[in-house]
Symmetry: C2
Subunit: 237 residues, 2 copies
DNA sequence: CGGAATGTTGATTATATTCAACTGTTGTGG
DNA sequence: CCACAACAGTTGAATATAATCAACATTCCG
């Protein structure tokens, strides 16, 4: 749980500066430009289960995760939702709606106690006006975002849930860990991961059992051991 | 059909210049900057049914439709596909992969004889280096693209096909035409529209029949008459 | 410990796909 | 102009897939 000590202003300033300093998007900006941006940014703490922003609300700015883990999700009728992605430390979200000053296009909820840096659009836009290098970086960033959303859609276009689960597990394992027997930890509860894969928790449970019975994986709570990566990749097709 | 007369170079140059001149993305560039870009662009004619680019191939540049209609689609196993969107005259696509010099992330096929202007990344990047205003416009453009892809995903997250069809019809009707009785023309064959909605053509056929029987719409080939827009919007929920 | 949240499992049901047959439309070459 | 092939669309029946419902098991925490 968050230990909310005396509201230590200096500490907050330090965190904001540190986070902004490390933003990939601003890596080509000068130190003083980053300080400028940091000066306008503010800190926001989130208790597990609370939301940073909700679909349709005004978007306060570009959001950077200082620590913790959030999920971005599209709400669906009946209190369900479709999880778009998880956002962890040092990652950003909301660039597109923030820059265009549009309503938030998704819900963002904290899966664990988290801290966000909120960067209002104004200082960023000012930076862009005069510093093409920063603008180029932002363009690359937005383009990356677009492509990952697209590959999200591609995953969703795959026929059945098992294929999506298989490729998700492979992607969690990462490209480097080629060997079998590597372990993967689900970033969230199975219910939430199910929403990420676009299925119900019951279906995820059955899919995991199916893959276990076929000897592809072993499931121990949130930890999945990949026993046969080749076959798993084959299923992902 | 395309009348490919004597390969009229001057005419091609004129078309390229005209198209580049009208690109929303470059509206804040100077006339001479646009000419610069146009000088590096080339024209590509596409017969109905042929593809401008395919998933995984190198992306030749940003693509602008001079005339005609294309579909962007993600291929699926068994020769099927999921249509992402239709791209018509004066619209652009492929900015993200082109700017990042990544492989094409979708298939682009001509639904009718079409002409494309291909803008290589180099002159665009050069423009960005020195002209922040152009960069800002491009940022806005990419952000828009991101948001529309997101709303695409949102539509897909809706429970059933009828809801997606209903909202698709409403969006085709446009926000202005509030009255009932307005007519909408499907931009492509029902089979292709079905792929756009993420269902099989048989399912689309049944859904259309269902809406007809309920008195929401009338179907005459590709022309749909919206009889009860209120109820239709209600279904879209 | 006790209660809430999370996960599992089986039975049933909803939704859309697949398969197959048939109809209609369109464009092509004899 | 007609015959015909290729494509597009419709319809019904059988099937696949995952959702829903309901009951129970497990884990996590205070």
């Amino acid at each position: 749980m968050l230990v909310e000590t005396t509201n230590n202003f200096a500490r907050h300033v330090r965190i904001v500066e540190g986070v902004v300093e490390n933003m990939p998007m601003l890596q080509d900006a000068t130190r003083s430009q980053r300080s400028q941006v940091a000066a306008h940014a503010r800190l926001r703490t989130l208790r597990r289960g609370t939301t940073a922003c909700r679909l349709g609300e005004p978007m306060p700015g570009i959001l950077v995760v200082a620590f913790g883990l959030l999920k971005l999700a599209l709400p669906r009728p009946e209190g369900e939702e479709r999880v778009l992605r998880f956002v962890g430390a040092n990652e950003t979200f909301g660039e597109a709606p923030a820059l265009l000053d549009r309503p938030t296009p998704f819900d963002a909820a904290a899966l664990s106690d988290s801290m966000l840096v909120v960067i209002p659009r104004a200082p960023v836009l000012r930076l862009l006006e005069h510093h093409p290098v920063v603008a180029q970086k932002l363009i690359a960033h937005l383009a990356e975002d677009y492509l990952s959303l697209l590959s999200e859609l591609q995953a969703l276009a795959q026929r059945n849930g098992v294929q999506r689960l298989a490729s998700y597990l492979v992607s969690l394992a990462g490209p480097q860990r080629a060997a079998n027997g590597c372990q993967v930890r689900l970033p969230a509860s199975k219910t939430t991961v199910a929403a990420r894969l676009g299925v119900q928790k019951e279906t995820l449970s059955r899919m995991l059992r199916g893959l276990s019975e076929r000897g592809c994986i072993r499931v121990e709570g949130r930890v999945i051991t990949i026993l046969d990566r080749t076959r798993l990749s084959g299923l992902a097709a």
